[in-house]
């Protein structure tokens, strides 16, 4: 899915890459121009597919040497059988989707594990802007309220609550700010949340 959030240097890619096992099978949902998938193929020898809806991104991902399948994530992953992948990745796309619960459940159906990254709405500067009476606009959330593709923003606490409801076990989590891991109070100090989950 093209969500316009792709220009923040993708600090999450390094973390994702560290979590993805060498030689595994990967499905990258909303793969954009296929940069991550290409990186995982060359550095981790993964076999994978990218799913992408935008014409220009499909072309770019294909030109990047990836397997890319043009499809609307909102329609589910019916093209894929159960547990066909070691890891299903949804990188900074969740917040732009309509059917959050459905896509998370589909991810853990077709993959043994899922990696989900999203901008943490609980990040202190976001809270400060809201406290000052405005919707947050930042490097990672660059849109105005009226033109943002990000329709389902959440905090890390919100996400963890949803994981509990959907019976997803959190295997790992990292919060990044300016590309660096945050040790203290991630929901307050973390700009970008990265979770590794599986079905409980």
């Amino acid at each position: 899915m093209s969500n316009g959030n792709g220009h923040n240097l993708r600090a999450d890619y390094a973390v994702i890459s560290a979590w993805v096992g060498a030689g595994t099978r990967v499905l990258d949902l909303g793969c954009g121009d296929g940069t991550l998938l290409r990186h995982l193929r060359t550095d981790k020898q993964v076999f994978g597919y990218g799913i992408e809806i935008d014409d220009a991104n499909v072309l770019a991902a294909l030109a990047n040497g990836n397997n890319v399948i043009q499809s609307d994530l909102e329609r589910g992953l019916a093209a894929f059988g159960d547990a066909g992948f070691d890891c299903v990745i949804l990188s900074q796309t969740l917040q732009a989707m309509h059917h959050i619960e459905a896509v998370l459940l589909e991810m853990v159906r077709v993959g043994r594990e899922a990696i989900v990254t999203f901008p943490n709405f609980g990040y202190a500067p976001n809270r400060e802007q809201v406290a000052a009476g405005r919707m947050p606009v930042s490097k990672i959330l660059p849109f105005a309220w009226y033109n943002t593709p990000n329709i389902h923003l959440c905090t890390m606490l919100d996400f963890e609550e949803l994981c509990a409801k959907l019976e997803l076990e959190i295997l790992d989590l990292v919060a990044l700010t300016e590309g660096k891991p945050v040790a203290d109070e991630p929901n307050l100090n973390g700009e970008l949340a990265i979770y590794r989950v599986k079905r409980r």
């Binding site: 597919y49 294909l62 399948i69 043009q70 093209a79």
Partner: protein, 402 residues
């Protein structure tokens, strides 16, 4: 010798087409080309069990086969086309090949890099052994006695042509519609002999509705009094009425409802005449297409090709599982392309192919082009579609050093 090139069909399309043409204008056509005939003095045994004692295939090639013979691409034709994929004969612009916009110097399938082979399929009417040829058993044209051909038969014959040309392995096999079925069949039947399959606007099998349209077309031909049970050559007639109707039916399925409405609407040529002449624009369009087609296409070949379409179902031999059928093909790489307004072979049918391939963890990319023109789009110069094919061939070229 050649089917006429398709022309633009709507004002909107004309714009698109011209835009594409202007892009391609700097890229020349391959220029004048010549067909060649390959003769095989061994019997060809069809899937039906029937055989012919020897056969010929008409083909053309463009570009140069490289030293390690790794840059060959086979382009398979659909219903009415032929070996004449690109270029012209004797500078005649009317003789432009049927996929000249796709194949040529600097074009998506670049003949500066690849050695491209086009072949008229067995049972065809553009020079390869077919119903018009003399049956050595009777010394008369085969007519209706030419064995019913299948996609498997075509691909087996194409493999013999590849042997003849010294091509052990195609870098790619490409086709649209029925041509794409041949690319799929290549991947299943000869997985070691094909690197990539480019499958455009196709389906893993015909639906009952698809077969129904074919059957109406066949009945139009078979019930034409000039058909003479398929032996009309001896009577020096052709079942032109049947062919016309068959072609008209085909054309309805090639176009989207929207494009037909846009181009023809309910426009009357000359008001209501309260008769059965060609009054609506769409009527005269279909009659014109039918008339043109009946002038160059063979009725028996049309029947054979529609049967090949109907019978194609690679999953049938694998417990009706397309995924099982593709197990053999999982080392072939695929590009699958569909068009949103194609209701003849809709995107859902291409997605079946993609699903069966991903189940085998085959390398596959899939694009669903949002384009207005229906099934015919695969022959048109849609910039997104052409850019994808171009990018995909760049990958193949890098692989094979073309």
């Amino acid at each position: 010798m050649h089917p006429p090139a398709r022309s633009p069909i709507s004002p909107k399309l004309t714009g698109l087409f011209l835009l594409g043409q202007s892009v391609n204008a700097v890229l020349s056509s391959i220029g004048n080309v010549s067909p060649r005939l390959a003769r095989f003095d061994t019997p060809f045994i069809f899937k039906s069990g029937k055989a012919i004692p020897a056969f010929e295939l008409m083909y053309e090639t463009y570009g140069t086969l490289n030293a390690d013979k790794s840059n060959a691409v086979l382009v398979c034709h659909a219903l009415n086309a032929s070996h004449h994929v690109a270029g012209t004969y004797n500078d005649d612009p009317e003789s432009l090949g049927w996929w000249d916009n796709m194949v040529g110097p600097g074009k998506p399938l670049d003949t500066n890099r690849f050695f491209v082979v086009g072949v008229n399929n067995l049972g065809g009417c553009f020079g390869s052994s077919g119903p018009r040829h003399i049956n050595p058993a009777t010394h008369k044209p085969y007519g209706a006695d030419f064995p019913v051909v299948t996609v498997e038969d075509w691909v087996n014959a194409q493999a013999q042509l590849a042997d003849h040309l010294g091509i052990a392995r195609f870098a790619a096999v490409m086709g649209g519609s029925l041509g794409a079925m041949q690319a799929l069949q290549w991947a299943i039947a000869y997985p070691a002999r094909v690197g990539h399959a480019l499958v455009v606007a196709s389906t893993p099998k015909l639906s009952a509705q698809n077969i129904a349209f074919n059957e109406v077309a066949r009945q139009a031909i078979i019930t034409d009094p000039d058909f003479h049970g398929g032996h009309f050559y001896e009577h020096n007639v052709v079942p032109a009425r049947g062919l016309r109707v068959a072609r008209m039916i085909g054309h309805i399925t090639y176009l989207s409802d929207d494009v037909m409405a846009e181009r023809f609407g309910r426009v009357l040529r000359d008001g209501m005449q309260f008769g059965y002449g060609p009054e609506f624009q769409i009527e005269s369009y279909l009659r014109h297409q039918g008339e043109k087609f009946s002038g160059y296409f063979d009725a028996n070949t049309y029947l054979l090709i529609t049967k090949a379409l109907d019978y194609f179902d690679p999953a049938a031999d694998y417990d009706n599982s397309l995924a099982l059928a593709f197990e053999r093909a999982k080392n072939v790489k695929f590009l699958v392309v569909s068009f949103t307004t194609d209701w003849r072979f809709s995107p859902a049918r291409s997605r079946e192919i993609v699903t069966a391939l991903t189940a085998n963890r085959a390398d596959v990319s899939y694009a669903e082009i949002d384009a207005p023109h229906g099934h015919d789009e695969f022959l048109l110069e849609d910039p997104r579609y052409f850019a994808l094919v171009r990018a995909y061939y760049a990958r193949i070229a890098a692989e094979v050093g073309a």
